[in-house]
Symmetry: C2
Subunit: 334 residues, 2 copies
DNA sequence: TTGAAAGCGGTACCAG
DNA sequence: CTGGTACCGCTTTCAA
């Protein structure tokens, strides 16, 4: 009983229904200013009634502009990315672009496959936390406009979430509370973000003349944070700044399992603010601005698509400390 | 010093250089079996020398097959969706398709805009928890293959995560623990998922002859759950099943704020298992299988793209209870 | 086995 | 301001 899917309306059908030429309909959509207001209104009404939308593929064929962009992330399920994706999507949509999403599964080869497949139908790429080798990125940007997020390659447009200010504020906050020996529970050693945070902790601690020790979380995950709890304690610290919120959350769980109360006996600070105030107690953390990053990346890409290859600008997004309830003055030593 | 991008070769140039017709070149690439071996070899050689590759967009315009699909979700940042998106992406990618991601922002109008924009460049749609009116969905499926996730429209292909078994198991679990009066903290009244969970709670409670009261969370969020805590307590229940993990998490926070310990004084069960074991204590919950749902949806869509419109199959995914640490025998009444 | 030509759905130039 | 028409690059009958 199924109707054969009635084909989607074309510009021709709209033109006929509206009693105008195809070119007029085309103009109503791309350059309405060229037409009289009534004509536009009439055409739009007819188009709306028919459920017409310009066919991007046909348009692309004739203009060489695709109206699509690609967004590649290493792992959609990592809570850092969804807000970024959402913001990028929204901004691109506002500019009339459709978004291809690619998940590289943290794998450079996969990322390269994806970019290759998509390059033929997009006007540009946003690569978030790209795992690609530097020359692969450069090669891609030779074909299409590219914007990087949290990856620092000279000569390319990029938006960098600079966690240094927030991290420094976190160390100061701990210092003011009275902590004199703190831990940094680190993430992936070669990650740009990790290096940045680590450096900020060490440097600020140095300036304040307090001790900072580094404890590695074998993986930047809840489990990794949990497993780091004993090491953090045995390092005789009274507070820890974690690579990200997940690690912080795991650390809190590990601490709780060891009978150490947060924040009474130990203070914890996360990073990225992906958990909101949803932990108990609510986690003090460093803002990540992934939403801003997503939007900014699209804006840079749009500019590049408009104006041609840019000389490669780095846009830095500041961060700050969000004090909630996992930090307090150091308690009696455990 | 940038070379002006040397325009990429077209089929026409290859044809001329090879001294054959365009159609012959076309066949060399799409149906080489139709040509003599020498012709093919010759054309391929010339094409190789010129660096020619068929233009996908032009090909799509003439064949009507795009090699793309669209996936629309109400909110990328809702933790239920990323695993689904990830799985769908992976499955589609394995089939050689690129995925457009759309975020409807919970808004039917926006969802309609997105589908309209994408319809002209995709071979089909997956609508997850679609907010579209039923006839809008039907209209869309009139134009393109469509698969629904967690939306039950007769005659359409759909994959439904059936939380009834898991929910029933949750009620039984509570009953075995000794609870005799429990609460269901509900979600959006018209949501298919909510109705299903609510029904399962009420029915199973009836079968076991225990009392179940419904408490509405004004919003299916952490805050909503938190705000429901007083109501849950004043209903004199000793345990609650929440619409989803976020609500459960909020409820736990609300309870903690009221000085009620979980699970000693009150038991809590979530739904969807989006938090893993990452709450403290780890949340007992009902599995959601969103990963399976994402993969299954793509598979149904592929089948539909291959074989033409289906008669509309519902694929149901079972669920089960995951017992962690937020449930225990009822404590002394608060 | 190969060539010629008619689209696919738009855009943009050229008249009027 | 609007209509007519030649493309965009490729696929696909239809003939030869």
């Amino acid at each position: 009983m199924d109707q054969p899917p009635k084909s989607i309306p074309t510009i021709e059908q709209v033109a006929r229904a509206a009693g105008v030429a195809r070119s007029t309909v085309s103009r109503a959509f791309s350059r309405p200013g060229m037409l009289s207001a009534e004509t536009v209104a009439h055409i739009m009404a007819v188009a709306g009634r028919l459920g017409y939308a310009p066919n991007q593929v046909a348009r692309a064929l004739s203009t060489g502009r695709y109206g699509n962009i690609a967004l590649i992330v290493p792992d959609v399920a990592n809570p850092f990315f969804p807000p970024l994706i959402r913001a990028a999507e929204a901004r691109a949509d506002a500019a009339g672009l459709c978004v291809f999403l690619g998940d590289s599964d943290e794998d450079p080869a996969q990322e390269e496959r994806l970019t290759g497949k998509m390059a033929a139908q997009v006007d540009g790429f946003v690569l978030a936390s790209s795992r690609l080798a530097e020359d692969a990125v450069r090669a891609l940007r030779g074909r299409r406009p590219v914007v990087l997020v949290n990856r620092d390659i000279d000569g390319l447009d990029r938006v960098l979430i600079d966690s240094a200010p927030g991290t420094a504020a976190a160390v100061r906050h701990l210092h003011e509370l009275g902590h004199r020996r703190i831990a940094y529970v680190g993430g992936p050693p070669f990650s740009w973000s990790n290096q940045q945070r680590r450096t900020a902790v060490l440097q600020t601690a140095g300036e304040l003349a307090i001790e900072a020790v580094e404890v590695a979380a074998e993986r930047p995950s809840y489990e990794g944070g949990m497993a780091a709890a004993p090491a953090v304690l045995s390092a005789r610290t009274t507070a820890a700044i974690a690579f990200d919120d997940l690690v912080a959350q795991g650390l809190m769980a590990g601490l709780a399992g060891l009978g150490v109360e947060v924040p009474a006996a130990f203070s914890v600070i996360g990073c990225d603010d992906v958990l909101g105030a949803r932990t108990y107690p609510p986690l003090t953390t460093i803002s990540a601005r992934s939403t801003d990053a997503g939007r900014a990346a699209i804006e840079m890409l749009l500019a590049q698509i408009e104006a041609g290859p840019s000389s490669g600008t780095a846009q830095r997004l500041g961060t700050e400390l969000i004090v909630r309830a996992t930090t307090a003055a150091p308690g009696p030593s455990p």
